[in-house]
């Protein structure tokens, strides 16, 4: 007696591998597919430049897609489970706005006369984004303790997000054009700018937060029944709430710092995954959304680099373009949306 459909689990990893190889083979420079495969196998290939392109540009971008997609998907799943609300997600509850505010402080503090940091290092940006994210979440959580109503909470999350966004606007207004430029590029979202060092930071954050999420499997499953039932089953709801939030903040914070505020992936991936694997068991769901998030991000990135052209569109535009219709179609098809 097993309550989950295991057969379907094989679909996602296959999809991931196919999309990853596809992602690496496509780009502004045309490299024959056979050469891509031989370069991936460690050979020099017909053109030494291709080797560098594949390994130092496309590979880091592909891996960034995988890490960022996975992290956002897990964060989205955690928040949808915790709030028992299908619309919860890193970007909806104001988390990304909090991170944006913190990062904009780093980028633009010089102009507003508060020199916080001379040259933003990757770790400083990650820390700032995580703290910004965490502060918003702590505010949302503190209010959730008093309200006990998910809809109100969601609205409050949106309001906090709006407040953070307007503070960012004020900072932008006060700052110099060149500082604005780097911040604006950051908000478009970018998956291609990471070097191997930065990838490592992102990977470590994902591993720590992911491991934390997996260790919370039991609590996450019990949250489905709400707080009272969870406690009656021996779940320490206070602690698990804090740990779930910690994990979600770390994941969102790290991705937002390196790749900018990427919308919709965190919201859409858990729903898409549950469409394929109808379960609420997080022992299955966490690995599944990890793979699905990576796959969706790779797919979005393939679209973003407009195969055959030298243009690269901002990834944030693509995720919303793909994510929004998907969520709309799910709701229309199911007549309603649930966690």
């Amino acid at each position: 007696m097993e309550f989950t459909a295991r057969k379907r689990l094989i679909v996602l990893p296959l999809l991931l591998v196919v999309l990853f190889v596809l992602n690496i083979s496509l780009g502004s420079v045309l490299i024959p597919f056979g050469d891509v495969l031989s370069i991936l196998a460690g050979k020099e290939g017909n053109n030494p430049v291709w080797f560098d392109i594949v390994w130092d540009f496309r590979m880091t971008k592909g891996l960034t897609c995988v890490l960022a997609g996975s992290a956002l998907a897990i964060a989205g799943l955690l928040m949808q489970t915790l709030f028992r609300n299908a619309l919860a997600g890193p970007d909806v509850l104001g988390l990304s706005s909090g991170a944006s505010l913190a990062v904009s402080l780093i980028f633009m503090s010089q102009a507003s006369g508060l020199q916080l940091i001379s040259s933003p290092s990757p770790w400083a940006v990650v820390t700032a984004a995580s703290i910004g994210c965490g502060l918003v979440f702590i505010i949302v959580l503190g209010i959730s303790h008093r309200l006990n109503d998910n809809t109100s909470l969601l609205i409050i999350g949106l309001m906090i997000g709006a407040t953070a966004s307007s503070l960012v606007s004020v900072l932008e207004y006060l700052s110099k054009a060149e500082d604005q430029q780097s911040f604006l590029m950051w908000t478009f979202g970018s998956l291609g700018g990471l070097n191997w060092k930065e990838l490592q930071v992102l990977a470590i954050a994902l591993i720590i937060a992911g491991a934390l999420a997996i260790s919370l499997t039991k609590s996450l499953n019990a949250w489905f029944l709400g707080e009272n039932y969870s406690r009656s089953l021996g779940v320490n709801t206070r602690l698990s709430r804090v740990l779930i939030i910690l994990s979600a903040c770390l994941l969102t914070g790290a991705v937002t710092a390196f790749c900018g505020p990427i919308a919709f992936v965190g919201l859409a991936v858990p729903h898409l995954t549950k469409l394929l694997i109808k379960t609420n068991n997080h022992r299955v769901l966490i690995p599944a959304v990890t793979v699905a998030g990576a796959a969706l991000m790779l797919f979005c990135d393939i679209i973003a680099q407009l195969p055959g052209s030298s243009y690269i569109l901002p990834i944030n535009a693509i995720t919303a373009l793909i994510g929004a219709p998907v969520v709309i179609s799910i709701i229309i098809k199911a007549k309603r949306i649930t966690v």
């Binding site: 309550f3 499997t217 499953n221 489905f224 029944l225 009272n228 009656s232 109808k278 609420n280 022992r283």
Partner: protein, 321 residues
Amino acid sequence: MNTTVLSTHKLTVGYGRHILFQDLDLKLEKGKLVCFMGPNGVGKSSLIRTLAGLQKSSSGEVTLFSKDEIHRQLAVVLTDRVVGSNMKVGELISIGRYPHLNWTAQLTDADKAAVTDAINKVHLSALLDKDINELSDGQLQMAMIARALAQDTPVILMDEPTAHLDLNNRLEIMKVLLQLTRTMNKAILVSTHELDLALQTADEIWLAGNNKSILRGIPEDLVLNGAFDDVFRFKGFDLRTGKVQHEVRHSIDIELIGQGHELLWTKNALERNGYAVRNDQSSHRIVIKVSEGRTQWHVDDLVTFSSIKEVLEHFAPAVSH
């Protein structure tokens, strides 16, 4: 042998200054079904949450008669709504095993056996692979009860498990609960508004009423000593006869002769319509005769009817004059 599994000592339930119950000394015993009754808003849910350790007591204590952790001794079925999809009935019920599992939440064969056992107890095996949002209210409630059973605890507390269910489902749930006390020796506390069901199934009634206290006793004693009437202040309902009292609205009184269900329901129809029904000489007489599966009503030895409706229509014009 001590059969008490849960007891309270000077337990006071409430929120801050607002006290709902004061100085309660209660106990739950193995193999006993206790129905907890009282008017709306008296604090039944709060007491259940306090007994379950989900809400802090204002003072006093709740004692479980085993040293094991509370969630392995006590399971609850609450009024909290469980909504959502992508969860099969089997999955929902297996969540009940969590107090017995490690962090991976992996079910062992023994756990799976306990889940199957719980499912069979409430006759849900046909629905095992259904998503819980496809269930009716009654089926979902049964699944929540099965989840509590899978937790495998000596004590189960339930907050209005029969609310919003139709008569059949209410009956089914109470029957299952009674069975569990008998076959598995569980101590079960059920808060309910179903007076008739409680009177017929409970081993003991807790009656929450005046003075922030709880009156305890077996159902029959509480009926006869008028405790129910004090608490519920029935309006036109006689608990001792189990019937609604009807005012006599017409001058006609009727002598009714017959047997069994036919007599009972004819009497019901006449009283409901405001006629006085007697066993002796009256202004009218109805004789009910059953032969070859057909029932006939002979009124005043003059006319014969084949349904109660016709009998009522016969008297109606006489009344309107």
